[in-house]
Amino acid sequence: MGGHSNWPEWIYIGVVVALMVWVGAEAWEAERLVEHVPEDAETIIVTGQQWFWTFEHEDGTKEIGELHVEVGKAYKFEIVSTDVNHSFNIHDYVVLMDAIPGRVNTVWFAPTDAGTHDIQCREYCGLIHYNMRGTLIVEEPHS
């Protein structure tokens, strides 16, 4: 506890605080933009249950384990669960939202290129959690 001056520590703390403010501000701005769901987004109901995903499109068609979407459209997922917690994840598009029984969580995305991507469950849900996987198939616009 000598009488040395403490200004290097104050400068350091200032730098750390400034960095945190910057990270916080950037994150706030980015999240605000990503959370804004486009008006014309098509709704897809995603149901997680031990241990597979079901998708229901606006026109009532249902798919299991596979999800077909089109380039150029925006989609809003309404995510539900019938048993325990799951987490719906398309890692390539940074889509991640928990499926929690008793709640409807939403998240949206707009695929940019045709191709296939992995769908997986990212919240522990028991025995076959490791294989609760699916495929996203992005197709060129149909008409």
Partner: protein, 508 residues
């Protein structure tokens, strides 16, 4: 300073003793035992993930049980009891009192750990270390799940009893000539972490009981089928366990505050800054719990609040790093084993914190949450910072406790291998997370990047495993046959570099 060197006594005399160094020894041996048990489970997990497909663990259920017991063991049966061991040995001496404030309570707190540990190991539950409902209510097989709940209940009570004892010992039993501003930083770390425990744990204690009655079907707090809400559990759990991560890390930082100045042969750069950072962390640590829940469907406002709360706690952690570096600056550093572990631990602490900031930034967390990134993040704390600080401190205590020196070369080999191993495992896991591999999976699709990074991580883990075997051999051999230590100054660093006064206890 001598930590209770006595003629060898029969084991039962130590077991029935309430003297703080005897209880400390019991804590020490128990926690190291669980370090090796929990570590063995980690090696099994890493071996299984070396390649896609079932390797050494036949089925997913066994795998899930293994990682659940691994995490529970190392947090509740290694890190916490190890800190209690150090606190028992040092806190009374540092505040110049003859024992802990309540010696019998102290022994009781210790003796709750073996039954708690036994329940967890005999049950071998599978619902992860946060026992999330509704899985833990409707799906997790009993009696393992119920045994885990009871085990944690007992360990939680033990923690609370220990915390009461530390708070009273430090605040009420310290020598009247000593002001609170003279209490060494290691003792301050126990004061802060104990106060956090007393505020944080009761919430989880309540949640555990609610979980149990939910399992019994007599209530439905967290069970949507009975009108309950699983998210309520997440809040109660993280309200306890985000502060609890500081309970884990603060004593390890305190241990580094003993080692760094001593082996740099310089006084601590700023005692006041150390105290301030401990106190600040204990308060601000309560403002960030829901950063674990960004993906549960929280509103934008809620997420923002908890992000700000999380970022607000970062400067307090960063102050410790500065204090350590500034203390070492221009010091005559003696790189003996305890110092190497502390310095390595500080480097990893810094990296871990940087990763934490990325998790805290809301949009980034949607990439990292529940992937291997998070596994890497918190292991840089629990392994890289806490285990490193603790193991370094164990080497440091060794001559004071046994009267003998450990083998210095083997100590350094242990450090170097563990450091390399830790970097290989946990830095790689951060990248693996960015590639999207979820945590808690028994098997994975053969994606080339995932395979490569899992293999690096497994090799790293095996290196740590070998180094821990060296550690064990060194300790067992040296405690009986090591060369006699000069217990006044076993490391030849002199003794007057760190406290504003000499810590001496007339009754030791």
């Amino acid at each position: 300073m001598v930590l209770e060197l006595q003629k060898p006594r029969p084991i039962w005399q130590i077991m029935f003793s309430t003297h703080h160094t005897d209880v400390g020894l019991l804590y020490l041996i128990t926690s190291l035992g669980f370090l090796f048990l929990g570590g063995a489970l980690a090696l099994a997990i890493r071996a299984e993930l070396f390649l896609p497909g079932a390797q050494i663990i036949g089925d997913a259920m066994t795998f899930n049980r293994i990682f659940t017991v691994h995490g529970t063991t190392l947090i509740f049966l290694f890190i916490i009891p190890f800190a209690s061991a150090v606190g028992n040995y040092y806190v009374p001496i540092m505040v110049r009192y003859k024992d802990m404030a309540y010696p019998k309570l102290n022994a009781i707190a210790f003796w709750m750990i073996p039954p708690g540990g036994a329940l967890i190991w005999l049950g071998f539950a599978d619902f992860t270390w946060y026992a999330t409902p509704p899985y833990s209510i409707i799906s997790a097989p009993g009696p393992a799940a119920d045994m885990w709940i009871f085990g944690l209940k007992i360990l939680g009570i033990s923690s609370v009893l220990g915390a009461i004892n530390f708070v009273v010992t430090i605040l009420k039993c310290k020598h009247p000539d000593m002001s609170i501003g003279q209490v060494p930083l290691l003792a301050w770390s126990f004061l802060s972490s104990s106060l956090i425990i007393l505020v944080a744990i009761p919430t989880f204690a309540a949640a555990l009981l609610m979980l149990l009655t939910d399992r019994l079907g007599v209530s439905g707090f967290f069970n949507p089928a009975m009108g309950g809400d699983p998210i309520a559990y997440a809040h109660l759990f993280w309200f306890t366990f985000h502060p609890e991560v500081y309970v884990l890390v603060i004593p390890a930082i305190g241990m580094m505050y003993e080692i760094i100045p001593r082996f740099s042969r310089k006084p601590i750069y700023s005692y006041n800054s150390g105290v301030f950072a401990f106190v600040l962390l204990s308060i601000v640590g309560f403002s960030s719990w829901a950063h674990h829940m960004y993906a549960t469907g929280m509103s934008f406002t809620e997420k923002t609040v908890f992000m700000v709360g999380t970022l607000a706690a970062v400067p307090a952690s960063a102050m410790h790093v500065f204090n350590f570096v500034a203390t070492m600056w221009n010091g005559r550093i003696k790189f003996l084993t305890p110092m190497m572990w502390s310095v390595g631990g500080i480097a990893l602490f810094f990296s871990a914190g940087a990763g934490g900031v990325a998790n805290a930034a809301m949009p980034l967390d949607f990439t990292t949450h529940d992937t291997y990134w998070v596994v890497g993040h918190f292991h840089l704390f629990v392994m890289g910072t806490i285990a490193f600080g603790s193991i370094g401190f164990f080497y440091y205590m060794f001559p004071y406790v046994t009267g003998r020196m450990y083998n210095e070369t083997l100590g350094k080999v242990h450090f170097i291998m563990s450091f390399v191993g830790t970097v290989l495992v946990f830095f790689t896991q951060h990248v693996l997370g960015l590639y999207g591999m979820p945590r808690r999976i028994f098997d994975y699709p053969p994606i080339p990047e995932w395979i490569a990074m899992n293999q690096i991580a497994t090799v790293g883990a095996m290196i740590i495993g070998v180094s821990m075997a060296i550690f064990l051999a060194n300790m067992i051999y040296s405690s009986g046959k090591g060369k006699l230590a000069n217990t006044e100054d076993p490391f030849g660093v002199g003794g007057k570099y760190y406290y504003p006064f000499e810590a001496k206890n007339p009754s030791h």
